[in-house]
C-alpha cells in the first residue's frame, strides 16, 4: 500500500520524519497540512483497521504487531553494565512496528501529566546518584497542547479530583463503568480513597467521521478494527495523506542519518521493502522513533564529526531510560465480571500520585482496575492463574472454568528515576533482521521505584479485600526486564551539557535535527506517557513551524 503522493529521493523534501507513531503521526499531520512536503519512514507495514484481527496467538503470543519478537526485531537485555547482554525470549523494549506505531496497539490509558511532574526536582530537592531534574517547560505551557490532543485525536473522560486545570472540557464522556470499576468504586469508598473515570484515547461517540467503540475487548496489544482507538493511524495519518504533502513510506527501515560538511542533517539512509539501501534527501530531519529506536539511530549515525553518535556531545543519547515500574494484585470474585468485554480500564485512583516524604522514599503512582490478563484466554492461562492451583489436570481445568469471567487485576504504576546506568546502547555482537546493531537495553530499577511499586501493591491488596474478593494474590514485584514505556533517552533541557534537545525539540548539536517522542521526557510521570508524547508532538510542530517561518532551520 502506498500513499497518494510520492517524493523523489534525490530532491530534498522539507522534512523527513522517522517513525509514524504517537509523535511522528502528529508531526506528519501538522507539517503536511501546513504545506510542507513530508516523508514519513516506518519500518513496519502499512496495516489498516480492516487488517486487525482477534487472533490472540498471532498478536499476543507471536508479537505480530511488534515485528515478530526476536525473529525480526532482535534486541538484547542485561540488568547491569558489567553483564553480557543476551537475547531474551521476549523483546525488552516493546513497541509496534506498524504505521501508527505503539498508538495502534496500546491500551489507550491516557493520563495527562500534572503540574508537579514538570517541577518535582525543585519541589523535592536532589536525589543523590540520579539525574532527577525539572523539565524546561511547565504544565501551563503544555496545557493548550493537551487540549489539542483531546480535541484533535479524540479523548473520552471526565475531570478527576486531583487533575491539573484544563482549558476545555473533554470532547466526549467517559466509557461507562465496567464491573472491575464498580468494585474499585466500592472499595475506594470504604477506604476513603477517590476514584475517577479513566481518560481514554478511545471514542465513546462518533468523532471526525470515526465510529465509537463497540466494546469488543481487544484493546491491549491489538489494533482496533473499527478505528475507535485514537491512534495516529486512525486520527492523524489520514489527514496527513489527504493534504497531498505527505508520503508514508512503510516497510522502510532507517539505519543512518547522514550529515553534510556543515554538520547539518542532509540525508536519511534506509532499507526499502526489498532490502535495498536507499537515501532520501531532506532539508530537516525529525526523529520520532520512540525512546529505544531514537537513541539507537543516533548512535548508529556516528561519523568523523560526531564520533559518539549524532547529537550526542552531551553523552546523554540513550541515557536515563525510564520504564515505569508496576505492581499487580489479582482477585477472583464470587460472581462473573466478564471483564474481557470492553476497554481495559474504566476507573483509576490517583490518591498516591504525589511523592510523600512520610513514605521514606521518592515516588508516586496511580492504581487502575482492569481485566489485564483475563481479557483473553491464552494470556489468562499463561499469566493469570493463582499460584496455588495445579498447572494441569482436572483441578487446573476447573480453576480455568471458574476464574476467567470472575477475575480482575489491580494495577499500580509508578515513577522511575533517571539513572546513568539505565540506557540504550548498540549491542556489539547481535544484529537485527536488517543487519543493524541490535538494541541493547540495560536496566535495573532504582530502589525507590521498587519501594513505590511495593507500596502500591499493598494499597492494591487493601482495595481487593475491601471490594470483597473471594481470593486474591500478589504478583511478586521484581526489577523490570521489559517495558512498553520507553522514556528519557534524549532528554529535553536548556543546558547542552546535560540534555540532547532544547525546549523546542531541536537538537543542541545539529540545527536541522529535531527529536520528539518518549525520549524527550525528563521525568517518567506516573505510568501513562502517551498523552504527553502526543502533546509534546503538537507543541513541537508549532515550534518547528515558527522556526521555519523565521527561516531559522
Amino acid at each position: 500500500m502506498s500513499s497518494s503522493v510520492t517524493f523523489d529521493t534525490r530532491t530534498p523534501v522539507d522534512f523527513a520524519i522517522i517513525g509514524s507513531g504517537s509523535a511522528g503521526g502528529i508531526l506528519a499531520k501538522e507539517l503536511s497540512t501546513a504545506g510542507f512536503d513530508v516523508v514519513v519512514f516506518e519500518q513496519g507495514p502499512y496495516r489498516k483497521a480492516a487488517d486487525f484481527r482477534h487472533d490472540e496467538l498471532a498478536v499476543m503470543m507471536r508479537e505480530e504487531l511488534m515485528g515478530g519478537g526476536n525473529g525480526r526485531n532482535r534486541q538484547t537485555f542485561r540488568h547491569f553494565e558489567h553483564q553480557t547482554a543476551t537475547t531474551p525470549g521476549d523483546i525488552p523494549a516493546w513497541y509496534a512496528q506498524t504505521v501508527g506505531g505503539a498508538s495502534v496497539h496500546f491500551s489507550a490509558n491516557f493520563w495527562r501529566f500534572r503540574e508537579v511532574d514538570f517541577k518535582e526536582r525543585s519541589l523535592l530537592g536532589p536525589i543523590s546518584g540520579t539525574n532527577f531534574a525539572d523539565w524546561p517547560i511547565a504544565y501551563e505551557e503544555l496545557e493548550p497542547y493537551y487540549t489539542r490532543v483531546d480535541w484533535e485525536i479524540g479523548v473520552s473522560g471526565a475531570p478527576g479530583p486531583f487533575d491539573s486545570p484544563r482549558s476545555k472540557p473533554f470532547p466526549m464522556p467517559p466509557m461507562p463503568v465496567k464491573s472491575s470499576g464498580v468494585l474499585m468504586d466500592r472499595a475506594a469508598e470504604k477506604l476513603g480513597l477517590h476514584t475517577q473515570a479513566e481518560p481514554l484515547a478511545i471514542l465513546t461517540k462518533p468523532f471526525n467521521g470515526r465510529a465509537p467503540c463497540i466494546n469488543c475487548g481487544y484493546c491491549m496489544f491489538f489494533g482496533c478494527e473499527v478505528g475507535a482507538k485514537s491512534s495516529t493511524l486512525a486520527a492523524m495519518i489520514p489527514l496527513a495523506e489527504a493534504s497531498g504533502h505527505c508520503e508514508i513510506r512503510a516497510e522502510s527501515a532507517v539505519f543512518r542519518i547522514e550529515t553534510d560538511a556543515k554538520g547539518r542533517a542532509s540525508e536519511v539512509l534506509y532499507f526499502d521493502p526489498a532490502g535495498n539501501e536507499q537515501a532520501q534527501r531532506a532539508k530537516a530531519v525529525i526523529v520520532c522513533g520512540n525512546g529505544a529506536e531514537t537513541p539507537r539511530l543516533l548512535l548508529m549515525s556516528a561519523s568523523e564529526q560526531h564520533r559518539d553518535g549524532l547529537a550526542n556531545s552531551s553523552g546523554y543519547v540513550g541515557r536515563n531510560l525510564m520504564f515505569n515500574a508496576h505492581a499487580v494484585v489479582n482477585s477472583v470474585f464470587d460472581e462473573p465480571l466478564n471483564d474481557y468485554k470492553g476497554v481495559q480500564v474504566t476507573r483509576i485512583i490517583h490518591d498516591f500520585y504525589e511523592s510523600d516524604e512520610k513514605r521514606g522514599f521518592y515516588g508516586g503512582g496511580g492504581i487502575d482496575a482492569r481485566p489485564l490478563w483475563s481479557a483473553t484466554p491464552i494470556f489468562h492461562t499463561l499469566q493469570g492463574m493463582p499460584p496455588d492451583v495445579p498447572t494441569w489436570g482436572a483441578a487446573f481445568k476447573d480453576a480455568l472454568a471458574h476464574n476467567f469471567t470472575r477475575q480482575m487485576s489491580w494495577v499500580g504504576s509508578t515513577t522511575s528515576l533517571a539513572l546513568d546506568r539505565n540506557n540504550i546502547t548498540l549491542d556489539p555482537a547481535t544484529t537485527d533482521a536488517w543487519g543493524r546493531p541490535a538494541l541493547r537495553v540495560t536496566y535495573h530499577d532504582h530502589d525507590d521505584d521498587m519501594a513505590m511499586a511495593n507500596y502500591l501493591q499493598d494499597r492494591c491488596a487493601e482495595l481487593s479485600d475491601a471490594a470483597g474478593a473471594a481470593k486474591s494474590w500478589r504478583r511478586p514485584v521484581t526489577p523490570l526486564s521489559d517495558s512498553a514505556h520507553l522514556l528519557g533517552t534524549c532528554r529535553m533541557g536548556d543546558d547542552p551539557a546535560s540534555s540532547v534537545v532544547d525546549r523546542d525539540h531541536r537538537s543542541h548539536d545539529v540545527p536541522n535535527l529535531f527529536i520528539c517522542d518518549g525520549s524527550s521526557f525528563v521525568t517518567s510521570g506516573r505510568g501513562q506517557p502517551t498523552m504527553t508524547i502526543m502533546a509534546l508532538a503538537f507543541r513541537a510542530a508549532d515550534r518547528i513551524k515558527a522556526a521555519a517561518a523565521a527561516d531559522d532551520i
Binding site: 505480530e64 515478530g68 525470549g89 463503568v177 466494546n215 483473553t376 489468562h380 476447573d398
Partner: protein, 209 residues
C-alpha cells in the same frame, strides 16, 4: 473466511519469529528455545499443509506431519493436561490438530524436540506399549516425573494454544475451549452491562449464564 485465512497464512509465512515457546514472564519460565532458523515455506505450500490438516480434522483422516503413533501419544498427553471431565477437554477440542498444523509451520523447529521427548517418554514404558496405551493414572505419574522438563513445557504450552487459539489454527473445535471458560470472544462487540457488578449500576440483564 477464505480471505481471512489467506491473510493469516500470508502473515504466518512472513512471521520470522520462530521462538514461539517463550512468552513474557511465562509462569513456568520456559527455557528459551534455541535457534533462529527461519521457517522457509512458500505461501502455497503452507496453504496446502494447513488446509489439508484442517480437512483431516473434519474427516478424521491422517495427519500432515505427525505419524499416527506420535499423534496418539501427544493427544494422550494433551488429554491429561486438559482432561475430559463432565465438560469437553483437549480431546474434544481437537488439540492434536493444532499440534500437527503448528509443527508443519510456525513451530516446525520444535518438532525435533517433541519427537525426542516422546521417544524418552516411551523408552521407559515396557513392552510394545506407548504412552497412549497406559492407564490414565500411570500417564499422570509419568507426566509428574517430567513436569519440569522443556518437553513437558512444550506440550503444556501447545495444549493451551490448541485449546484456546482461533479454530482456524486447527484446535478449539466448535469453540469448546472458549465455551469452557465463558469467553465469547468470537461474537464481536458487546452492550453494557457486561457482568454481575456493573449490572447493578446499569440495570438490565448481566448476560451471565
Amino acid at each position: 473466511m477464505r480471505s481471512l485465512y489467506v491473510a493469516y497464512l500470508y502473515r504466518a509465512v512472513n512471521m520470522k519469529n520462530n521462538n514461539d515457546l517463550t512468552r513474557r514472564r511465562f509462569l513456568l519460565s520456559v527455557s528459551a528455545v534455541s535457534g533462529t532458523m527461519l521457517v522457509r515455506l512458500s505461501a502455497p505450500s503452507l496453504l496446502a499443509i494447513t488446509q489439508a490438516a484442517c480437512t483431516a480434522r473434519d474427516v478424521g483422516a491422517a495427519f500432515g506431519i505427525l505419524t499416527d503413533g506420535e499423534a496418539a501419544d501427544i493427544a494422550a498427553i494433551a488429554a491429561r493436561i486438559i482432561p475430559t471431565t463432565d465438560t469437553p477437554g483437549a480431546t474434544e477440542a481437537g488439540v492434536i490438530h493444532f499440534f500437527d498444523n503448528a509443527f508443519a509451520a510456525q513451530m516446525a523447529n520444535n518438532l525435533e524436540e517433541a519427537r525426542k521427548g516422546l521417544e524418552a517418554l516411551n523408552a521407559a514404558i515396557s513392552g510394545d506399549r506407548t504412552f497412549a496405551d497406559i492407564s490414565a493414572d500411570e500417564q499422570d505419574e509419568r507426566l509428574r516425573a517430567i513436569e519440569s522438563s522443556a518437553f513437558f513445557k512444550l506440550m503444556w504450552q501447545m495444549t493451551i494454544y490448541g485449546f484456546f487459539a482461533m479454530s482456524e489454527y486447527g484446535g478449539n473445535k466448535d469453540h469448546v475451549g472458549w465455551e469452557l471458560i465463558g469467553f465469547k470472544g468470537h461474537q464481536g462487540g458487546w452492550q453494557y452491562p457486561f457482568g454481575h457488578y456493573d449490572a447493578q449500576i446499569h440495570g438490565g440483564s448481566d448476560d451471565v449464564e
